[in-house]
């Protein structure tokens, strides 16, 4: 059965390693913070200027001067720090952030990503996405395998304007975990109960299928 958003986040959380600084994009990536394994320590960076971001505040604890990149009220944890946007993107461009998790409209088999603009539709802007994808060595995309019309979002070549080139390392969708390799999308795991055939049909780009494709473990 295809995963729901929570389970996509839960699967991505398994990619976290002890000592990682992590930047979470808006949407599914934000949910990853709820599933950090207890035995490891990670710190969340929000590009608007906080490291050591904590959960949402309790009622009455909101502070207009303390928000995340999605403009939501947040809290800070012990060991947190605040800084300006140049320092924040210095951390990102300088490869000090270990893992970036973000959403995408399309990913191509060579790791290109498009997630900011649909021609002839309203463009809201790239925010920090271009900086993040151009800089991070370790990018995981959280996305739906197909769009609402049923078309694959894992393509041989992106059709939408690009956010970044050859930058995605791993993709987690409702159907599968896939890596970007020199041979295209490599099927690493499938969602529980989802067949290889289903994933094959939902993937427009080149798909490398190993003999054994294990089910995701949670």
């Amino acid at each position: 059965m295809a995963l729901d958003k929570k389970n996509i986040a839960k699967r991505i959380a398994k990619e976290l390693k002890d000592g990682f600084y992590v930047n979470l994009g808006i949407g599914i990536p934000t949910l990853v913070a709820n599933y950090v394994p207890k035995e490891i320590q990670v710190e969340f960076q929000s590009e608007n200027g906080i490291l050591g971001m904590g959960p949402f505040p309790y009622k009455g604890g909101e502070d207009a001067d303390l928000i995340n990149a999605g403009k939501q009220t947040i809290t800070s944890l012990p060991g947190a720090s605040f800084f300006d946007s140049a320092m924040s993107f210095g951390m990102i461009r300088g490869k000090h952030v270990d893992l970036t998790i973000l959403g995408a409209m399309e990913v191509s088999e060579n790791g290109d990503i498009a997630n900011w603009k649909i021609p002839r539709k309203l463009v809201k802007g790239m925010g920090g996405a271009m900086d993040l994808v151009a800089s991070a060595d370790n990018i995981i995309v959280a996305m739906m395998h197909v769009n609402r019309k049923g078309d694959s979002k894992l393509l041989s070549k992106c059709s939408l304007p690009l956010t970044g080139l050859r930058c995605v390392k791993r993709i987690v969708t409702e159907l599968a975990v896939l890596d970007i390799t020199s041979k295209g999308f490599l099927l690493v795991e499938r969602a529980p109960g989802v067949s290889v055939q289903e994933i094959k049909e939902a993937t427009a780009g080149k798909l490398e299928i190993p003999v054994d494709v294990p089910e995701m473990q949670f």
């Binding site: 608007n48 140049a86 900086d131």
Partner: protein, 232 residues
């Protein structure tokens, strides 16, 4: 001590006029120069180019300038959350230059620090890099970006002193420090204005040399865009 204090927002904005390029601090509605924005609305000047990470919401922040059609060009990284903005952009009344957020920050910082241009990986291979110098360093590709040139910078700080020294709070810091000294004239409004000597010189985020005028702000609303709470 060189005193940068002015008494009123009118005095603080003296010289601002139509057609100018303005920098405005803030991320969303967090840390925006509320008093300066209100005064720009009151002045009724127009044809402005505004450099700011976002464009406010319909009835607050830069949205107030959009309502009055005071902005000709908006330079930002993300402009959602604003219906009037969308209308003006789609109708062609408003020119929008979208810039990666880190590049926007660094272009401000470059202007502050006398760096005319720098290289960043952000946007390489995308439409953002079109028409700009692309260059490789150590096998990785970069885009050359130039410092902004602006007439006025409006920033909001938490505390400030008469010498123009500023301290910001939480994530309301964001672009504010980078815009100080990045325009010909920098105007800082603060929630609390104290005498010179009242702030610890070790804890100052922006030294007064980067601020031309400072004033005690009034009636801060500090609106929250997404009040998000945890269940008890």
């Amino acid at each position: 001590m060189i005193n940068k204090t002015v008494q009123t927002v009118e005095e603080a904005l003296e010289g601002v006029s139509s057609g100018m390029t303005l920098m405005l601090g803030g991320f969303g509605l967090c840390g925006i120069p509320e008093n300066a924005i209100s005064e720009i609305v009151r002045l009724g000047i127009s044809d402005l180019s505004c450099i700011s990470n976002n464009a406010g919401i319909d009835d607050f922040g830069l949205g107030l300038l959009l309502q009055q059609k005071q902005i000709r060009t908006m330079i930002a990284s993300y402009v959602g959350e604003n219906a009037e903005f969308e209308r003006q952009m789609l109708s062609g009344e408003l020119e929008v230059i979208l810039t990666p957020q880190g590049t926007l920050a660094e272009k401000c910082r470059a202007a502050q620090a006398g760096i005319p241009a720098f290289y960043t990986p952000a946007g390489f291979g995308t439409e953002v890099a079109v028409g700009k110098e692309n260059r490789s360093f150590h096998g990785k590709n970069y885009v050359m970006e130039e410092a902004y040139q602006a007439d006025f910078a409006f920033v909001k700080a938490w505390k400030g002193d008469a010498a123009g020294n500023l301290i910001f709070k939480g994530t309301a810091r964001n672009f504010n420090p980078l815009m100080c000294g990045a325009a010909k004239v920098t105007v800082a409004e603060v929630e609390e204005l104290v005498p010179a000597g009242a702030l610890d010189p070790n804890q100052i985020h922006i030294p007064g040399i980067l601020v031309n005028r400072i004033f005690q702000g009034r009636d801060y609303e500090k609106r929250i865009e997404q009040r998000t709470l945890r269940n008890t």
